[in-house]
Amino acid sequence: MMRSFYLEEQTWLHGLPAWIKLLVLSATGTILFAGNGHVLATVATAVAVAVATLGAATWRTLRSLRGLALVLGLILLFHGITDSWVIGLDAAARLGCLAVLGMLLTLSTPFGELLAVVEAALRPLRVFGLPTERAALAFGLMLRFIEIFFLRWQQLDEACRARSGRRGGFRLLAPLAIQVLATAERVGDALSARLGR
């Protein structure tokens, strides 16, 4: 279940280094919100062309943005009814472009590469006392335990069903929270035994 949106099928975007894609994304994000309608039209065209060249597998992944499309439609409708359709289109298009760009980055860049870029970008902050190794450790722990706690939830749910015949729902929250805290206590003990702090 810990699959990310990364697309195994290779596209030309997969070949670009992760830091370049991140740079383009943040630069585009900035000019999208700072620039005028012409900028928006140029970016929207570029995004459309990029998506068109990426192939069917990419288009399938982009379907996960349907929920966002609905919200953008509502924003368009809201502006159209209260003041002007142009403003609505402007707001919806800016958001839509950025969301599609973000998705393109996510589906074309392996998780580990993104993590490496972030780590490299944060490294200078170590001078100011940001504990980057500890942040990386916490990140790894989080990933590992998502799966464990998901299984734990399913076990609690099954146990509840066996007892009462109904789904556990919110009743499982407190037991799960207790298990999380107790597990954290043990993991903390193990860590401090190994790290010595």
Partner: protein, 184 residues
């Protein structure tokens, strides 16, 4: 316990994992059959159970995972694109809301469930909605008033989450009596 000790790291990482799981769990049905997503409940619980500083870091860690493309948000959303969605203010409000919840929880006197309820309402609704409304107004180019009207319908559901948060915190305090020192 020092704030950056191994135990803190474990708590922060595992609670972030819990919040991710709360987004994957199909849904929580309330007694009347009303489905709610549990993720914002996780924000309140983090604040109530871990204190302001660690709760803040839990949500920062969680959102980092989301930004790097893990589908951790409820409904399997993720990727840096979600920070371009109209709900971005709510997301960025999560760490602040969790920290506020923790601070209020720590400052209040009284029975534990009442403290948890008030803290959840002030942090998990008050602060999160302030950020959410501001974000919506900026991103969707609305006035603050219009943006506030647009999100009002979610308040009743979130009040229910405050009640759940209070119940869970009370149960945890009973189930793990030694936990009181973290709540203090």
């Amino acid at each position: 316990m020092r704030p950056t000790s191994s135990h803190s790291i474990a708590l922060i990482a595992l609670f972030a994992a819990l919040i991710a799981v709360l987004g994957v769990v199909p849904r929580l049905d309330l007694p009347l059959g009303v489905p709610i997503t549990a993720q914002s409940l996780g924000v309140m619980l983090a604040g109530c159970l871990l204190g302001p500083r660690r709760a803040f870091l839990v949500l920062v860690l969680f959102l980092t995972g989301v930004a790097l493309g893990l589908p951790l948000l409820s409904g399997g959303r993720g990727g840096i694109g979600v920070f371009a969605a109209p709900s971005v203010g709510f997301l960025l409000g999560f760490p602040l809301g969790a920290a506020a919840t923790g601070a209020v929880m720590r400052a209040l006197p009284g029975p534990i469930w009442l403290r948890a309820f008030v803290a959840s309402a002030l942090g998990g609704i008050g602060v999160v909605y302030l950020c959410g409304i501001a974000g919506l107004a900026v991103v969707a180019q609305m006035t603050l008033g219009h943006a506030a009207l647009g999100v009002l319908i979610f308040i009743p559901g979130d009040l229910v989450k405050c009640v759940l948060s209070a119940l869970v915190v009370r149960t945890v305090a009973r189930g793990l009596p030694q936990w009181e020192r973290h709540l203090g």
